[in-house]
Symmetry: C2
Subunit: 163 residues, 2 copies
C-alpha cells in the first residue's frame, strides 16, 4: 500500500456496530489531542465543522456536567435542530453527552467521544453512540450517509488551518 | 379475600421488570380515564401529586410532541430537578416522554404511560420505563422506595376531590 493510499484510507471514518444498540466510529486526525479537544468543545470552532460545512448556529453550549447544548444546522433541505446534555466532561480526553434530533423528539442516544494521543502529533478519535433500541440505531445508520465524512473533512480543514 | 383486602391491594402499585432494561408499573385508579389524563397533563394538577406531596414547581410544561417539561421538587432532603421532552401525546390514553434527574444528568429513560378505561368508572394505568442499561434500571429501582406509592396516594386524594 502506498503512503497515499494509507492517507486516503485514514480519511474515511471506520464505522462499526459492536453491539446491537451501538455505533462505533473511529478515525485518526493529523493534529495533537489538545487541538482536537478545542475543536470539539469551543462553540466557535464547532460551528465551523459540525454541520458538514453548512451554517451552524450554536444556541446553547454549557460545557460542564449537566449543562445543555443546542445546535441549529441550516442545510439545503431545511433547518435541523439538535440538542442534548453533558454527562461527562474530562479534558482533553473524554466527552459524553446525550444527543437528540428535533425530527424525532424523545429519542435520545448517548454519545461518548474518546481522544487518544498517538504520540506523533496525531490523535485517534473513537466515538461510541448507544441507543435505546436496535431500530433507533439502524435508523441513525441509514441517516448518516456521507454526512459524517463531510463533517470530519471540514474538521480536517479547520485543523490544518491551525485552529 | 375480602373486598377490603382487594382495595388494599389495589392501592399498592404492582412493580415488575419485564426485560432487563425496563420497569413496569401497574395500578388501578378509582376515577374515569379523562380525569386521570387531566391529572397527568395539567401542570396545576400535576403539582398537587407528582412530588409525593412535596412542593413541586412546574418550570416548563409544553404538552406536545417535541415539547419540553421541567419540574423542581422541594423535599426535606433538598431540591431535585427533573426534566425531559415529550415523544408522544395521544389524549386520553397514551403519553411518552424522556425522563432525566438533575442528579444524574445525561442518563435518560423513556417513560410511556398508557391509561385503559375499565368501563366501570375506574382506570388502569400501565407505565413502562426503558433505560439504556440494566445498571441504570436497577439504580432507579433502588431509588424508588416508597416514593411511587406516596405520589399515587396523593393522586388518589386529588381524584377523590373531584379534580
Amino acid at each position: 500500500m502506498t503512503s497515499q493510499a494509507v492517507k486516503q484510507r485514514a480519511a474515511k471514518a471506520a464505522v462499526s456496530t459492536p453491539t446491537d444498540r451501538e455505533i462505533r466510529v473511529e478515525r485518526i486526525f493529523d493534529a495533537p489531542r489538545e487541538r482536537l479537544w478545542r475543536a470539539f468543545t469551543d462553540p466557535a470552532l464547532l460551528a465551523q465543522w459540525w454541520g458538514r460545512g453548512n451554517r451552524l448556529v450554536v444556541e446553547r453550549y454549557e460545557l460542564e456536567k449537566g449543562g445543555h447544548w443546542r445546535f441549529v444546522e441550516h442545510a439545503d433541505d431545511g433547518v435541523h435542530g439538535f440538542e442534548g446534555r453533558f454527562r461527562e466532561v474530562t479534558p482533553p480526553e473524554r466527552l459524553a453527552m446525550t444527543f437528540e434530533w428535533d425530527g424525532m423528539p424523545g429519542y435520545v442516544a448517548i454519545e461518548t467521544t474518546v481522544l487518544e494521543d498517538l504520540g506523533d502529533g496525531r490523535t485517534r478519535l473513537v466515538a461510541t453512540t448507544l441507543f435505546h433500541t436496535t431500530e433507533e440505531r439502524d435508523g441513525m445508520l441509514g441517516a448518516m450517509g456521507e454526512g459524517l465524512d463531510q463533517s470530519y473533512a471540514a474538521l480536517d480543514r479547520l485543523l490544518a488551518g491551525g485552529a
